[in-house]
Symmetry: C2
Subunit: 217 residues, 2 copies
């Protein structure tokens, strides 16, 4: 695989990555109207021509940015989860990770996009399926980290609600530092999920009190 072209490919990947990271920063700080290819290229230290070689329009750049944010979030979850001890004590740290997922600056960048896209048909047509895909991936990782599967009734909705709650907490962290309140909600929500979700890896052949009280229909 080692060819003379590799260094250039490597450089090209670095440039692309730098443009995407600059796009996320610009969106978060300047909003959609301030986020042009020229502004992004300048921040990334890349010529406008080189930027346009990678991304013809800011829509292209922003699409790549949304994919990138999704990948970074999932990678961050997996990295944090790898450091946790196994067993039932995982539930609170996992809930902590999930409910902090949207408390940072990347969420602000995404919010700017969503708000603009809600009134911009073309941008929405691009973003909606992409956000759905990013959301599905976060859902899959959340299931995996909580050690549950969706064949149990109610599990899918509880995991979805956990991620929707995380986005709501991201909003609450936008104007003020909401860390303390969020920590109390994390503890309480971990208790609820501990009661409501089936034990990790638990099969239908072994229904428990937890399972019955939590997700009775």
């Amino acid at each position: 695989m080692s060819t003379p072209r590799e260094p250039q490919q490597e450089r090209s990947r670095t440039t692309r990555r730098r443009l995407i990271e600059a796009a996320v920063e610009c969106l978060g700080e300047l909003g959609w109207s301030g986020t042009t290819v020229t502004v992004i290229a300048r921040r990334a230290g890349v010529s406008r021509g080189a930027a346009q070689h990678h991304f013809r329009t800011r829509e292209d750049l922003v699409t790549a940015a949304v994919e990138y944010v999704g990948e970074v979030q999932v990678a961050q979850l997996r990295r944090q989860a790898a450091e946790l001890p196994a067993g039932e004590s995982r539930i609170e740290p996992v809930v902590d990770m999930l409910l902090n997922l949207y408390a940072g600056p990347m969420f602000r960048a995404a919010l700017h996009l969503w708000v603009v896209a809600s009134a911009d048909e073309a941008l929405r047509a691009t973003l909606a399926p992409l956000e759905a895909q990013v959301g599905r991936e976060a859902h899959r990782v959340a299931l995996e980290l909580l050690g549950v599967d969706e064949s149990h009734p109610g599990v899918r909705e509880l995991v979805q609600a956990t991620l929707d709650l995380a986005r709501g907490l991201g909003l609450a962290n936008l104007l003020t530092d909401d860390t303390k309140r969020r920590r109390r909600i994390v503890r309480q929500w971990a208790r609820v999920l501990g009661t409501s979700l089936p034990e990790p890896g638990e099969g239908d052949e072994r229904p428990t009190e937890r399972q019955v009280t939590g997700i009775s229909r």
Copy 2:
């Protein structure tokens, strides 16, 4: 109280109300940058001078708009709740009301504001305490409608989580019609709260299984 000045006061209140409603519409559709006093006045069918008699700056108008949105939401909750039957069957319809609270166009207007305020020190200084006040009022009404009080450990956090979840569901409804998924989450969340919250009006002298499993520490 009937004085010759009343009709004029009445007219003045109507004008004020019309300006505020126009401000909410403009924010939702045009965002902060498109929402000027001139644009709002035109939409409200009010002269620019009359608009500025009521609100000197758009910050004043927007402050009034946030208060207005909060009041409308609380009034809507109380109106819907008044139509519900009493008793335990209330929990699912109450959760349904709460989790639909931010699914409409008013939430979009608020989002525009929050996103701009997150990068605008002056606007944030005005909005943050106001949003905190509106949030506390929503919380108070939610407690009342669920028929629980915060002296039970965990209740405050569960009710806060319910409203944070509602805002997260508002976000999820921004780019697509999320009604069906939200409905399933409502049902599941109502089950969780039914298990985790104390019975309405329940005192500490009557601890039940529900109470113990849901908010054990």
